[in-house]
Symmetry: C2
Subunit: 178 residues, 2 copies
Amino acid sequence: MAKTSYPLASVYGLLEPGPVVLLTTLRNEQPNVMPLSWHTMLEFEPPLIGCVVSNRNYSYQNLIDGRECVINIPAIDIADKVVGCGNCSGASENKFQRFSLTPQLSEVVSPPGIAECFANLECRLVDDSMVPTYGLFVLEVVAARCEENASTAQTLHHQGWGQFMVAGQRIRLTSAMR
Amino acid sequence: MAKTSYPLASVYGLLEPGPVVLLTTLRNEQPNVMPLSWHTMLEFEPPLIGCVVSNRNYSYQNLIDGRECVINIPAIDIADKVVGCGNCSGASENKFQRFSLTPQLSEVVSPPGIAECFANLECRLVDDSMVPTYGLFVLEVVAARCEENASTAQTLHHQGWGQFMVAGQRIRLTSAMR
């Protein structure tokens, strides 16, 4: 499905539900991708995201050196690719090729997005002060593209050791909370 | 349903899927409760949680002064109470009374848990260095209690302005990721 430019002020609604995301980075002009679930919104606008990447991950140094990434949100249709990307390392193989993921040119940052994901959030590293202690990277979303049906996407939510919850029904409650 | 002591090493599996949680704190011996969705795991064991509380929230000062809280995880059966707690302030009313929430004595910390939630994570504030910049409190889970059916609970996942995703089907994939 076609993606359109997405309002930065609405990005938080994509990440608050806690989906597994695919982080794309770049090293030596070769893109890498890793799945992660340890992320949280830190600010609405400009959207700031706190994202944990371990120094044991190949993407860690990519993020420190390149200071740019794309947070891609996958749905259940590529669940096997998502876990596959988590079961191997970019240090030894090209995951885009192995899992037939399509690099999608970003608008602002150097790392590509993933065409098979319904949302692509282009990010810049704006605060690395918590990286030594927690591996926590503070990212600012500088551009976002998303499919129209994002609010009903069947996102994946990791529960540990290969168990995932799939996004279920949507309900509306009388909340005044943004 | 009865709750039993829950392994601290397994706590991350409760929060990774991104459920709305109810944060309980204490001020002048009166408990308060607020819903929030901006949280992430920071470490497996001991479990460290990064949790964003705005200085506009009544709970903010409670957490800074008391340095203890309980992260309670509600399911859809108390969805109306969850949004109700987000639509008013502890500065002007006792939310436990207004929404008929039952304080549950904690094992280690002073603030009570919420009996109507299927999981109660007792936390101590261990790092407030990111509070001035992001309102990000680093909490260590020091005790946890949980119902047996937690892995299939119908948790709530906020998408903004009263729209929530309810946890759907569980699937198992061949992942080597903890």
